[in-house]
Symmetry: C2
């Protein structure tokens, strides 16, 4: 039976380093794809630091289960999602060794996603540990998006993550530069606390597509903290996410 099931296309969103905005990007890409009519599910596989319940405003909700498999939560943005953060009390450490974390990933991916789900975006934990290895080995994604800030230290880690996908034969769809340029709320001038342009240059060196850049902006951060992702609205920064989603949608349609 399993072999006959045509499941959704799995796309992983990864980063070498944490704190580069991977979860925010994943949520906003999912919402932007949904707005384009793609039926998207989102798995928050960042087992040790699940952010999606906060970003989608669904923290404290508990998914129902059927046949021992969880039923993903709906959101007002048209993106069904499921996170370990929904299964554990806030502030509780998921002090799990690797095999348990990797097992949890399987539960989330093999949940009761709607039958018409076309794409499952996976918000991976940072780094190249158990969850990522299980992801590429057991649930081989069709492709991966890599996120980095332009800082050298982050780029080094992003290259490591890229190499993990490469070794596993998972194509890297492209790189996204996050926290690129910050407009001073006082004078309006832009500066680059984390540098600028480094990710596009790295994409060139690694011969990978560059998908675009997202600025460092207070309203993106506040939207993420408040369960109001910018891609759902039409504010100043929605466009940056929609432009990247457009490239992703093209990649997906060419392979569907």
């Amino acid at each position: 039976m399993t072999a006959e099931r045509k499941g959704p296309m799995i796309i992983a969103v990864g980063s070498g380093k944490g704190g580069v905005g991977k979860s925010t990007l994943t949520a906003n890409l999912a919402i932007a794809l949904a707005k384009k009519g793609v039926k998207v599910g989102l798995v928050d596989a960042d087992i040790y630091g699940p952010s999606q319940p906060v970003i989608f405003g669904t923290q404290g909700q508990r998914p129902d289960a059927r046949d021992n498999k969880p039923i993903p939560l709906e959101s007002k943005y048209g993106v069904d999602h499921l996170s370990m953060g929904h299964l554990v009390a806030p502030g509780k450490a998921l002090a799990w060794r690797g095999p348990m974390a990797a097992g949890a990933l399987g539960q989330l991916i093999e949940a009761h996603w709607a039958e018409d789900t076309q794409v499952l975006l996976i918000d991976l934990p940072p780094g190249t540990g158990d969850v990522q290895l299980t992801m590429v080995q057991k649930f081989k994604p069709a492709g991966a998006v890599l996120v980095s800030t332009p800082q050298d230290l982050a780029l080094i880690d992003a290259a490591r993550a890229g190499q993990l996908f490469d070794t596993a034969g998972v194509p890297v769809i492209g790189l996204v530069e996050n926290m690129s340029g910050y407009a001073c709320p006082h004078c309006g001038e832009t500066s680059d606390p984390f540098g600028s342009g480094g990710v596009e240059a790295a994409a060139g060196r690694l011969e990978l597509p560059f998908l675009g850049r997202i600025p460092l902006a207070m309203d993106i951060r506040q939207g993420s903290d408040a369960g109001e992702p910018p891609a759902a609205g039409d504010g100043a920064h929605a466009g940056a996410f929609h432009a990247i989603a457009e490239k992703l949608a093209t990649w997906i349609s060419e392979r569907s």
Copy 2:
């Protein structure tokens, strides 16, 4: 024999979320403590994203070994240090499952540290996985410093990490707020891309000491990328690190 050995006091520097500046803080605290005359060693246990070779300008160096144990590298800042980044080629993914990562931690901690080493600072990977569990269970630290940005999403993860130490009976020495306030290089006005004050408030709620704040500043990032940590000099941001190191030194001396 082992029981008689009085090893250095182990202090872990952890964060729930990655990318909050944990490695930069650890390096600068080590340098500031060394300037105060404390003999400090630094272990970069961030197995999947080792940053210390870049911060100390020792990338590409290979530690010697004696009796199958590595000999820590010296640095011009008076801090011996050892990182998995010294043992693996740059850009190579450390695609290790948990038990292997935890084993690597043991190799770094049980290396040939100078006999007069008083304190071993451990730059932990973000989160609450295998390396952290091995750290608290096998190499029980005397205390832990937690770093977070003021963003809600980061604070939630910091509380999780705090809970891990608490459960293991490792006292949390205090919380540090990083990326707190950014001075525009054009107009000089300060704004808060990641919010402000959240970590001090969280420390209050969790009844933990607040150790201080480090601003988001281009010269801290550039110094970290260029192997010139600010605490080693007397630039504008050295003082913030030295003030936190002073509190840490007091904590250490009260327990030595």
